[in-house]
């Protein structure tokens, strides 16, 4: 069945896109991997939980409730498909898997792809132990399951989520062993004026989180370098070099790590959208106009899946992309509203730029990791495994780039399809080849974008 407009993702971008379309009289079909709308940022716990928005989302409660309420009002005017993975796009056809068992195909005229992002992680010795998660994972565990990842949790990384998560764990009564930030206090102090000018409200939230953590006497290490997670069955201690270069051992029973986010771009890739390496965000991103329009007719992008911008920006970008879709369909476009959205998007982008420069991915820490560190957690390939194969087969693999390295080492070919290791493999490869990450190449996406079960399929089922 053809839906005029398809939306992938029901986070802040997808919900706002749906809102604009429904108001214009279009009935979009919304595909969502989640159980209910909200995305990961405003993810709700399953029904049996009775927890207030304030408890779940803290200072973001009003925004979360707004997104949920908008979607609740829209739901009867759209075709919502929860628990549905879109695993391939061919022309104007989508291939879906619902509930992990039911395959389907759907067609569309225009599509807004807004699948969000995942944590950008860096391997550490010991990071495959049970009790080590991403920062986002530790947050989802708390938010949607009411569980803390341990009773003495060390948080490691950089960026806004690190401090927000620390605040949320403390508020929930989950004891923190330490917060280890690879960005120095001095760097943050230098950026503070630009951050206040960019978005005072958001910046002050950050200051508030920091202040409450200091009040609660949570050990905070800034400008620190994580060295290793040690333990046999779970983390026992986290070793770091603190901001002054001193060795510090932090006793803990769990570790969460993350350095910002990376966009989920596989569907855009398969749809044929061209990519560019974004030097500021240090991510490969699909090329799109501010409106979300891409070089592929009918394909629009919004939210963190297009470029990391956070939830507020995703709401704006989702709405903007929906107006672009309406324009392509020849429907009425409210130019004043479009201008308002674009002004707001530009303001958010300027603020994001300050954040991105303040919280870079720590490539130099990655470069200093011991060679035996597991790089690919799916298949247990070490950093040495990648480097050695590349050195040994450099002639056979000419020109050597990340897709060839993947074929020879399997780094990026495991079940996560490079989501956890792809960017770090590119960084390591670039250093080995003495070139930029851009020149080391981009890991190409393949359908299915996530593993799906292989079942006998008749040809009729595919037509």
């Amino acid at each position: 069945m053809t839906a005029a407009v398809a939306i992938i993702g029901a986070g802040p971008a997808g919900v706002r896109a749906a809102e604009v379309l429904v108001r214009a009289g279009v009935r979009p079909r919304v595909f969502d991997e989640g159980l209910a709308a909200g995305g990961r940022i405003y993810q709700r716990p399953p029904g049996a939980f009775k927890r207030s928005a304030k408890e779940l989302y803290g200072l973001e409660a009003a925004k979360a409730e707004r997104v949920h309420n908008i979607f609740a009002k829209l739901e009867k005017y759209l075709d919502y498909r929860p628990q549905t993975l879109v695993w391939d796009i061919a022309g104007k056809t989508l291939f879906t898997l619902t509930g992990g068992t039911a395959y389907g195909t759907e067609t569309f005229e225009q599509i807004i792809i807004a699948p969000g992002a995942v944590d950008r992680v860096m391997p550490l010795p010991g990071w495959t132990l049970p009790g080590v998660t991403t920062l986002g994972g530790a947050q989802i565990a708390l938010k949607t399951q009411g569980v803390a990842i341990g009773e003495k949790v060390a948080l490691v990384g950089s960026g806004p989520l690190l401090w927000l998560l620390a605040h949320q764990y403390v508020q929930a009564g989950a004891p923190l062993a330490a917060l280890v930030d690879t960005t120095s206090f001095a760097a943050k102090a230098r950026a503070s004026a630009a951050m206040m000018a960019g978005d005072a409200a958001t910046t002050l939230k950050g200051v508030y989180y920091t202040a409450t953590l200091r009040l609660k006497r949570i050990p905070i290490h800034e400008g620190a370098v994580p060295v290793a997670i040690r333990g046999e069955e779970r983390p026992r201690e986290l070793l770091i070099k603190d901001g002054k270069g001193r060795d510090v051992t932090i006793a803990c029973d769990a570790v969460a790590l993350g350095w910002g986010l990376k966009p989920e771009t596989r569907l855009a890739d398969i749809a044929g959208v061209p990519f560019d390496y974004d030097e500021v965000q240090q991510n490969w991103i699909p090329v799109r106009e501010m409106s979300g329009k891409t070089a592929v007719q009918g394909v629009y992008l919004a939210g963190d899946g297009a470029r990391i911008g956070g939830a507020d920006m995703a709401e704006l970008a989702g709405a903007r992309a929906a107006w672009a879709v309406l324009g392509e369909r020849g429907a009425f476009v409210d130019e004043d509203e479009v201008n308002r959205l674009e002004r707001a998007l530009k303001k958010e982008a300027a603020y994001r730029d300050v954040l991105d420069k303040l919280f870079p991915f720590p490539s130099e820490i990655l470069a200093g990791l011991p060679e035996e560190t597991v790089l690919c957690r799916c298949e247990g390939v070490s950093i040495a495994g990648l480097k050695r194969t590349c050195a040994a087969d450099a002639v056979a693999m000419t020109p050597l780039e990340v897709n060839r390295a993947k074929a020879f080492t399997r780094v990026g070919m495991g079940r996560c399809q490079g989501r956890m290791c792809g960017h770090t493999a590119s960084e390591i490869l670039a250093r080995e080849l003495k070139c930029g990450v851009r020149e080391a190449g981009r890991l190409r996406a393949q359908p299915p974008v996530k593993p799906v079960p292989l079942v006998p399929v008749t040809t009729e089922a595919l037509t």
Partner: protein
């Protein structure tokens, strides 16, 4: 306290109890728990790595890393983090 991941309930624990089957043995859960939460609450892990024999207890908890695969009777291979426990469900770990 399980010897692997020390997952700890901190809120929302006033929920009805459920039972499901984990590798043939009864496993308790609270309504709304994912298979990942319930399995890790009991045993501290959800699967064994095929490559290093180490235990795994999920990593991203959001359906991206695929490090929590289990087999659910009637549904095949599923991500434990994306599957809510149902009464009587039969789950097998690797």
């Amino acid at each position: 306290m399980p010897k692997y991941m020390n997952l700890t309930r901190v809120s929302g624990s006033q929920r009805p109890r459920l039972d499901f089957e984990l590798d043939g043995a009864r496993c308790g859960a609270l309504e709304g728990d994912t298979v990942l939460t319930a399995a890790v609450m009991r045993d501290g892990y959800v699967r064994r790595s095929e490559f290093d024999q180490g235990m795994r207890a999920g990593f991203c908890w959001m359906g991206a890393c695929q490090d929590c695969w289990v087999t659910i009777e009637g549904r095949g291979r599923q991500r434990a983090c994306a599957t809510v426990v149902e009464q009587g469900m039969r789950v097998k770990r690797s």
